[in-house]
C-alpha cells in the first residue's frame, strides 16, 4: 500500500527524537514587523483555540477569535474532569517521553502517526510548566509539589489534575491568556458567532463567513490563515457527553470545501457514564475515569439478577475486568472497558431497570482508606462502621464533586449504594486530516485539538485530550504556522469584497433561507434524535456490515426527509437557536453517512472501531495490520459521494504487537 499522492504529511526527516527539535530550528520565521500585518482567524475557544489565539497574539499576529457560546470560557473543554498527562516523571516511576509516546501509540491501537505523537509527548512537560505559571491550581502534595494520579491504559502516574475539574482550570488558564490579549487589542473576540463557511481564493483559505447569532447577520472575515479548533462531533449520536452546542458544522464546511476528513468512524465510547434513563434525556453525564483508580466494576454472576447491589454477596459478584485483564484490572483503556461492559449486559448480566448498566463499587475503597486512616491515627479498635465513615471522608475529598453530581442526576447516594454506569459516546478520534504542521488539505486552513485526527489513532487514552489540545495551541501551531505564513508576508490585507466572499456568503444565505422556508412538521431536535438512534444502534460500540449498510440507507432517507419536512420557527434576522440547531443537524446527518461508509470500509476492528465480524475468540478487537494500517482520508466529491485516500502508517520506532492488557 502506498500513501495517496494527494496526502503529504510533511514529516521532517531525521530520527524520531530529533525531528521536532530540528524542525523548530529550521522552520521559516515571520519577522515581528510582518506579523503585525498578518491576520489569523481562530474558530473555537476551547483548550486548542484559546491557547493558540493567545500565543499567536503574544507573538504579534493579528488574531480574530470566534465562539458560538456567550463567552470563550464556556467551550466544552471546560467539562473535562480527570486530568492531563505529561511525561514529567515527578513520581520517579520510570516515566519518560518515550514511554508516553509508546503508551499513546499502543493505546491508539497502532493507528496514529508516530512523528505527531512523539512531538506531543515531547511538549507535554512544557504544558504543565506553562499552566502552573498562569496560576492553574493543580492538586499538590503537602510538600508543595505537584500531585499525580493514574489513568487507564498506563502503569505510571503521570496525570496532573485539579480535583474533578481539570479541564475547567486549564481552560480558564488559556482563557485568561486570551482575555489578556483581548484587553491589549491584539485579539478581537467574536462571541455568539458561528462559522458557517470557509472562503477560498485561488485554492487557499482566505477567510470565513460567520453568523452573528444575536442579530442573525452574516459577516465576512478575511485572514491569511484560519485555524479550526472546533472540537469533536460526538453529538452525531444525539446522546453523548458533549455539550448541547458541540457540533461538526465548522469542520464539515471545511470538508465540503476540500479538507479531507480522516477516520470519521473512530469514536470513543467512555465506559463510566451515568446510564440513560428515558426518552426525553438530552445528554449523558460522564463520571471521570479517575474513579476507576478506586472503584471496582462488577456485575452479578447470575443472569437477570434483580437484587439491589448491596444485597448481592461478595462471592456472587463477577469483577469481570479484574478477571479478564489481571495486569491492568479496572484501569484498562476505555475501548476495552466499554466493550466488556456491553458484552456483559448483552449476555444478560446487566443491572438496574434497563439492564443496561454495571456497578462501579467503592465499598472496598471505603474500607481500604478507612483502615489507612485508622492506622495513621494509631487506632486499633475501630469499629467497621467507623472505618467506613473515615474511608468515605477520604473518598469524598478525592471525588466529592463527582459523587454529588451522581446523586443530583440519579437521586441515589453513591456513598451508600454502588454507582450504576454504562458506556456513552465521549470523544471522536477522527477529524480533519492534517499534516505535521496541522494544516488540512486546504492551504492556509489548519485544524487543532479534537477537531483534527492526528494523535490518538483508534482510541484515545484518558487525560490525553487536554494534553493534545494545549500542545497544539501553545507549542505546535505557533511554530508550524510560520512555515506557511512566511510565504504570505507580501499578500497584504485580503479584501472581503472579493467575489469569493460574495459568492460564499450568498451560498450560506441561500441555505439558511431554505432551512427556514421549508416549514414542515418535524423539529430539528426530533431529526437529531432519530439520527442519533441510527448511529448508536448501527455505528456505535459494535458495528457489522449488515447494520452499516442499513444505516447508510436510513441516513440518506433521513436527509431527504429533513430537507422536505424540517420545521424551523422564528426569523432569520433574530436570535434564533432553532435555526442554529437545524443548520448543525443538517451537517450531522451528512457526517453520519460518511462515518458509516468509513466503518464499512475498514474491515478490521481496532480501538473504538469494533466490527463484530473481526474479533478474536476471546472477543478482543482483531486488527488487520497488513491491509488496514492506514489513515482513511475522505474527499468530498458530491452528495453521497466521497473518494478515499490512504495515508500509510509507518512504525519505525515501535514494534507492532497485538494490544494486550492482560
Amino acid at each position: 500500500m502506498a500513501t495517496s499522492s494527494r496526502l503529504d504529511a510533511k514529516i521532517p526527516q531525521g530520527s524520531l527524537e530529533d525531528k521536532w527539535e530540528k524542525y523548530k530550528s529550521s522552520v521559516p520565521l515571520v519577522n515581528p514587523a510582518n506579523k503585525r500585518n498578518i491576520e489569523v482567524i481562530v474558530v473555537g475557544t476551547g483548550l486548542a483555540g484559546a491557547s493558540a489565539a493567545a500565543t499567536l497574539a503574544e507573538m504579534g499576529y493579528k488574531v480574530k477569535a470566534f465562539c458560538f457560546q456567550d463567552s470563550p470560557r464556556r467551550a466544552h473543554s471546560i467539562a473535562a474532569q480527570g486530568g492531563i498527562n505529561a511525561a514529567k516523571n515527578y513520581q520517579n516511576d520510570g516515566d519518560s517521553v518515550h514511554r508516553l509516546f509508546y503508551d499513546t501509540i499502543k493505546g491508539g491501537d497502532y493507528r496514529s502517526r508516530e512523528a505527531n505523537v512523539h512531538r506531543l509527548s515531547e511538549v507535554s512537560g512544557n504544558i504543565i510548566d506553562q499552566c502552573v505559571a498562569q496560576g492553574v491550581p493543580f492538586a499538590r502534595e503537602y510538600g508543595g509539589l505537584l500531585s499525580n494520579r493514574s489513568f487507564g491504559g498506563v502503569q505510571v502516574q503521570r496525570t496532573f489534575y485539579a480535583a474533578g475539574q481539570t479541564g475547567q482550570q486549564l481552560l480558564l488558564g488559556a482563557y485568561s491568556g486570551l482575555q489578556r490579549q483581548v484587553g491589549m487589542g491584539t485579539i478581537t473576540m467574536y462571541n455568539r458567532h458561528e462559522m458557517l463557511d470557509v472562503v477560498k481564493i485561488d485554492g487557499k483559505c482566505r477567510g470565513i463567513i460567520a453568523r452573528n447569532l444575536i442579530t442573525g447577520e452574516l459577516e465576512r472575515h478575511s485572514a491569511h490563515a484560519v485555524l479550526l479548533c472546533t472540537g469533536g462531533y460526538g453529538n452525531v449520536f444525539y446522546l453523548s457527553t458533549n455539550a448541547m452546542g458541540s457540533n461538526v458544522t465548522a469542520a464539515w464546511k471545511a470538508h465540503k470545501r476540500g479538507a479531507f476528513f480522516a477516520n470519521p468512524c473512530f469514536t470513543q465510547i467512555h465506559p463510566t457514564c451515568i446510564p440513560v434513563w428515558g426518552e426525553h434525556q438530552s445528554k449523558l453525564t460522564l463520571m471521570s475515569e479517575s474513579l476507576r483508580n478506586d472503584g471496582r466494576i462488577w456485575v452479578p454472576k447470575k443472569q437477570n439478577d434483580t437484587r439491589a447491589g448491596n444485597a448481592i454477596p461478595e462471592d456472587e459478584r463477577d469483577y469481570y475486568l479484574e478477571r479478564r485483564y489481571p495486569a491492568f484490572g479496572n484501569l484498562v483503556p476505555r475501548d476495552i472497558a466499554s466493550r466488556a461492559a456491553k458484552e456483559r449486559c448483552d449476555a444478560g448480566y446487566g443491572v438496574g431497570t434497563s439492564k443496561l448498566a454495571v456497578f462501579l463499587d467503592f465499598s472496598a475503597a471505603f474500607h481500604r482508606y478507612g483502615q489507612g486512616e485508622a492506622n495513621k491515627n494509631n487506632i486499633t479498635n475501630a469499629s467497621e462502621s467507623q472505618i467506613l465513615e473515615w474511608g468515605k471522608a477520604v473518598v469524598k475529598e478525592k471525588y466529592g464533586n463527582l459523587f454529588d453530581m451522581y446523586k443530583q442526576i440519579t437521586g441515589e447516594d453513591p456513598y451508600e449504594v454502588p454507582m450504576r454506569i454504562y458506556p456513552a459516546v465521549h470523544y471522536t478520534m477522527g477529524g480533519l486530516w492534517v499534516d505535521y504542521n496541522l494544516m488540512t488539505t486546504v492551504p492556509g486552513l489548519y485544524s487543532l485539538g479534537e477537531a483534527n485526527f492526528s494523535d490518538h489513532g483508534a482510541n484515545r487514552l484518558g487525560a490525553s485530550a487536554l494534553m493534545q489540545g494545549l500542545a497544539d495551541g501553545y507549542f505546535v501551531i505557533p511554530i508550524t504556522v510560520g512555515a506557511y505564513l512566511a510565504g504570505e508576508i507580501r499578500t497584504g490585507h485580503i479584501s472581503t469584497d472579493h467575489e469569493a466572499f460574495v459568492k460564499t456568503e450568498k451560498e450560506v444565505k441561500d441555505r439558511i433561507e431554505k432551512l427556514i422556508s421549508i416549514q414542515g412538521n418535524t423539529s430539528p431536535e426530533l431529526f437529531h434524535r432519530r439520527l442519533g438512534k441510527i448511529m448508536w444502534d448501527k455505528c456505535g460500540m459494535g458495528r457489522n456490515e449488515k447494520g452499516l449498510k442499513e444505516a447508510i440507507v436510513e441516513i440518506r432517507a433521513l436527509r431527504e426527509e429533513f430537507w422536505k419536512d424540517v420545521k424551523v420557527m422564528g426569523k432569520i434576522g433574530d436570535f434564533n437557536p432553532e435555526l442554529d440547531k437545524a443548520n448543525r443537524v443538517a451537517d450531522f446527518i451528512e457526517l453520519g453517512e460518511l462515518m458509516c461508509i468509513d466503518a464499512l470500509t475498514r474491515n478490521e476492528s481496532c480501538g473504538g472501531h469494533f466490527r463484530e465480524e473481526y474479533q478474536t475468540e476471546e472477543g478482543e478487537a482483531l486488527r488487520d495490520d497488513e491491509n488496514y494500517m492506514f489513515v482513511s482520508a475522505w474527499e468530498s466529491i458530491d452528495t453521497e459521494k466521497w473518494e478515499l485516500h490512504k495515508e500509510e502508517l509507518i512504525y519505525d520506532n515501535i514494534k507492532i504487537a497485538q494490544r494486550s492488557y492482560k
Binding site: D129, G135, P137, G144, L172, Q179, N191, H280, Q408
Partner: protein, 255 residues
C-alpha cells in the same frame, strides 16, 4: 427510576429583544418526569410550542453538567432554583411537586441586558477578566512546574476560588446586582498563589475599576451571592478583595 407524570404551570418571561418590553406568558405542561432535569423540562415545553406553531423559549445552556456556566434561569425567586450548590441544568424535577406553578425569569441586572427571553448578555464578565484576571506570562516563558512549591493549603484555597464558573448567579442573587463575588474569586485565586504576586496590586485596582465601569452594584455583605453560588464560592473572597484593593490603592505607585 420512576417514569412519573407531573403537571406544571410555567410562568416564563418572554422578550423578543433588548429594546422591546417583555412580559410573562403562562404555559401548562404535562408528562414531566421527576427524573428530568429542569432544562429537559424546558426542551419539552419548546417541543410543545413548536407543535403549536409558537416560537420556542430562548435560553442559554450548553454543557448540561454544571460546569460551563452558561445556563442562567431565575426560578421561583432564586438563581438556579431552590437547591444549594447546583446550576439550573443540574436541578431535577424531583425538587418540584405535581401541580406546581414555576416562575422563570432571566438574570436581572443593568449590566446584564436581556438579549431574548431568558438569555442575557454577560460580556461584562469577560471585560473584567481582560482588565487584569490573568498572570502576564507569555507561552514559553515558564520554568519547571516543580521549581515553585506551593503550600497545599494555599493551592486548595486558590482552587476553591478558581472553581467559579462565571454564570452570574451572584449578580442575579444580590439585591444590588453586585459582581463582587465573581471579581473577588479571580482576585483571590491569583493573590493566594506566588505566580500572581507580581501583578497583585495592579490587578486588584484594574479589575475593580472595570467592575464599576460595567455598572454592577455595591456589596452590602448580605452573603446572598455565596449562598446561591452553584460552586459555593466563599464570601471570604470579597473581604479579601476589599483588603487587596484598599491595600493596593494605599501602597501602589500608580497615581
Amino acid at each position: 427510576m420512576s417514569a412519573g407524570n407531573m403537571r406544571l404551570t410555567l410562568k416564563v418571561w418572554r422578550q423578543s429583544n433588548t429594546n422591546t418590553q417583555g412580559g410573562f406568558e403562562n404555559y401548562n405542561l404535562d408528562g414531566v418526569s421527576p427524573d428530568m432535569s429542569f432544562l429537559e423540562m424546558f426542551d419539552i415545553l419548546n417541543e410543545q410550542l413548536i407543535e403549536e406553531n409558537k416560537e420556542p423559549v430562548a435560553f442559554d445552556h450548553d454543557c448540561r453538567e454544571g460546569i460551563c456556566g452558561m445556563c442562567s434561569m431565575f426560578i421561583n425567586g432564586q438563581p438556579h432554583g431552590p437547591l444549594k450548590g447546583v446550576t439550573t441544568c443540574q436541578l431535577h424535577m424531583r425538587s418540584f411537586q405535581d401541580g406546581d406553578t414555576i416562575t422563570v425569569e432571566p438574570w436581572r441586572a443593568g449590566a446584564f441586558p436581556v438579549i431574548k427571553d431568558l438569555v442575557v448578555d454577560r460580556d461584562g464578565f469577560d471585560r473584567i477578566i481582560s482588565a487584569g484576571g490573568f498572570v502576564s506570562v507569555n507561552t514559553g516563558n515558564a520554568q519547571d512546574a516543580n521549581n515553585l512549591p506551593i503550600a497545599k493549603e494555599d493551592a486548595d484555597d486558590a482552587f476553591s476560588a478558581a472553581a467559579c464558573i462565571g454564570c452570574g448567579a451572584c449578580v442575579a442573587a444580590c439585591k444590588n446586582a453586585s459582581a463582587m463575588l465573581f471579581v473577588s474569586a479571580k482576585i483571590s485565586q491569583l493573590a493566594l498563589l506566588p505566580q500572581g504576586q507580581a501583578e497583585r496590586s495592579i490587578r486588584a485596582e484594574k479589575m475593580v475599576a472595570q467592575m464599576d465601569a460595567e455598572g454592577f452594584g455595591n456589596c452590602t455583605n448580605t452573603h446572598a451571592c455565596s449562598a446561591e453560588c452553584p460552586k459555593e464560592i466563599s464570601f471570604e473572597n470579597i473581604a479579601r478583595m476589599n483588603r487587596e484593593y484598599l491595600g493596593a490603592k494605599v501602597s501602589s505607585k500608580a497615581l
